[in-house]
């Protein structure tokens, strides 16, 4: 397992966002976390990347307990988080955004990783000197994913990468995710676009009010009447 969550509980003041989650992610796999708004999907990703401190439970990365270490150290270990809403650095150019993705990496590796990102997302290449705030939503999403890749992650956490994008752009983004996964990066994907997520994932968890309501392979979940009825428009 590249990642495992053991009884992970996170609270915001008196409100418990996730309750005793147990999630496992195998190396080179794609795991989807599905669920309605407020189910605890984003909090789960934040707890993995160290942006939120869990109140109970543990996070293991490649067998090492990383529950108490900082977000910066987790980036160094190989966890990259692409937060919801893209959150590109709007006042900076595309180049600068990409370089910031390698904030903790060596100069040499930044150059080669950015070249790889530009191969993956050629649309960014002609926008390198533009401020990121002027990019379209799809380009901003590509930039956000590309920026996360510059740190050479072993595990990529993606929060709603299809949010607010046109279907054709969603298809391009998911094609890029397939490529990224093929190159050996494990992905944890939080999505409300269930059909796209299940096409990409090898295993999925459905969260309900901070707890795992269902889990299984995409085939198992697609066959499940509840999932079909609630998320796949059946």
């Amino acid at each position: 397992m590249v990642l495992s969550l053991s009884g992970l509980t996170c609270s915001y003041g008196p409100v418990t966002a996730i309750h005793a989650l147990r999630i496992g992610v195998r190396a080179h796999s794609v795991v989807a976390i599905l669920g309605a708004n407020g189910a605890g999907k984003s909090t789960t990703l934040k707890a993995i990347s160290g942006l939120v401190r869990p109140s109970r439970g543990s996070v293991f990365f490649n067998g090492t307990d990383i529950t108490r270490i900082s977000a910066a150290k987790r980036v160094k270990l190989g966890i990259a988080h692409c937060p919801e809403g893209r959150r590109v650095f709007v006042g900076e150019t595309v180049k600068e955004n990409l370089v910031l993705g390698g904030h903790l990496a060596s100069k040499k590796s930044i150059d080669s990783k950015i070249a790889e990102v530009l191969e993956l997302f050629p649309a960014l290449e002609r926008r390198l000197d533009q401020v990121a705030g002027s990019l379209s939503g799809g380009e901003q999403q590509m930039l956000a994913i590309g920026r996360a890749l510059v740190s050479s992650p072993k595990l990529l956490l993606l929060d709603e990468p299809s949010l607010g994008l046109a279907p054709i752009i969603i298809r391009r983004v998911f094609e890029a995710l397939v490529q990224i996964n093929k190159q050996g990066t494990a992905i944890v994907l939080v999505e409300q676009n269930v059909s796209s997520a299940l096409k990409l994932a090898s295993y999925a968890y459905v969260l309900r009010e901070g707890r795992i309501g269902l889990e299984g392979t995409p085939d198992e979940l697609t066959a499940n009447e509840q999932v079909h009825g609630l998320y796949l428009g059946g």
């Binding site: 987790r74 809403g85 006042g91 180049k95 910031l100 070249a115």
Partner: protein
């Protein structure tokens, strides 16, 4: 495509050229506009205020943190100059360093809450600081000489005595130029990029491994350090440091200059200081009403150029392109962080892009 980190700032060469041209203009100004006492006084004040405004723009424009108490840091630097001149008799470079370090230490303490607080709470803290410093200065008579203040008779580096307005101008020019070069180097470095990343999105910056709270504290310290150096120059320029010099109105004047010049622009800050010092000087004869004139100037500039003076070249280039019927590529060419910032809500406090769900 081969990408080299060294290409990073190529796109902003225009603003670098502007700064070099500006430096030459300031260097030659006494020869061009005449070296009489009044003109040299206005120019020297502009140069000193430029450093204060740039230091404040580091916080507001580059860091997304608002301070309305920067006159407090200026006061610390000025009193450091006065205390040194009357008691310590330090060499001028050492005295400048002491002024910067003292203000920087206070900035560090002030910056500690900025890791947790933002927006209105931080504004209130800096307001309190700006109001408290002159009152503390009045009470700490052993250090500040209370209401009478501290006199600085001579400004001297080794055997060189700056006893003319022109010599004082060039002394301030050199110190401010060195400070601005240091600031620009930091802004172009990895730390500078981290500062701007925190401004644009704290969540994304943290996800990139940037320590958000630490970055804000360092930024506050850095800003206060250079404001303290400007304060030292201010003390030498005025020759007398009193608590009444460092009012809330002065802090607001600096903030107005930041906005008029353009958020997130070093060159804009210098132009903002230049414009507002000029307006202030021209309207000084009408006493208290001069503040209305300054306020009016701010409104006029912002209505005409919402991104401040620094955005004028971009606005003009865009207008020329549109009159030639060229299809505009969004964000093409020179990037001006002030544009992006002012396009967002407010002046860059906190995250700009939506909130995340639980």
């Amino acid at each position: 495509m081969a990408f080299k980190l060294s290409q990073l700032r190529k796109g902003r060469r225009g603003s670098q050229i502007g700064l070099v041209v500006g430096a030459f203009a300031f260097a030659l100004a006494p020869a061009v506009v005449g070296a009489n006492v009044t003109t040299m006084g206005i120019l020297t004040q502009t140069i000193i205020y430029s450093l204060v405004v740039v230091s404040l723009n580091l916080l507001v424009g580059f860091g997304g943190l608002v301070s309305i108490g920067h006159a407090g840091f200026l006061a610390i630097g000025a009193y450091a100059a006065g205390y040194s001149a009357n008691h310590l008799h330090l060499a001028l470079p050492l005295e400048l360093l002491m002024a910067g370090v003292l203000a920087g230490i206070v900035g560090l303490v002030m910056g500690l809450p900025s890791g947790r607080l933002s927006g209105n709470y931080l504004v209130i803290i800096t307001l309190g600081f700006g109001l408290a410093v002159p009152q503390i200065a009045l009470q700490a008579t052993d250090i500040t000489n209370g209401f009478t203040g501290l006199t600085i008779a001579n400004t001297q580096i080794g055997p060189i005595l700056m006893n003319s307005p022109k010599a004082m101008y060039y002394f301030c020019f050199v110190v401010v130029a060195i400070s601005l070069v240091l600031i620009l180097l930091v802004l172009a470095s990895k730390s500078g990029r981290a500062i701007m990343a925190v401004r644009d999105s704290e969540a994304a910056a943290a996800a990139m491994g940037i320590h958000v709270a630490r970055t804000k504290v360092i930024l506050f310290t850095f800003s206060a350090f250079f404001c303290g150096i400007a304060g030292d120059l201010f003390g030498h320029f005025e020759g007398l440091v009193t608590a009444g010099d460092f009012t809330l109105s002065l802090s607001l004047f600096f903030l107005a200059a930041v906005i008029v010049g353009g958020l997130g622009s070093v060159g804009g800050s210098i132009l903002g200081a230049l414009v507002l010092v000029y307006v202030q000087t021209r309207s000084a004869s009408i006493g208290v009403y001069s503040e209305f004139i300054i306020g009016g100037a701010v409104v006029v500039v912002l209505l005409t150029f919402p991104g401040g003076i620094a955005s004028i070249p971009t606005v003009v280039a865009r207008w020329l392109r549109s009159t030639r019927g060229t299809v505009r590529v969004p964000g093409e060419g020179e990037s001006n962080p002030g544009d992006a910032l002012t396009a967002q809500a407010g002046i860059g406090v906190g995250d700009h892009q939506g909130a995340s769900d639980a």
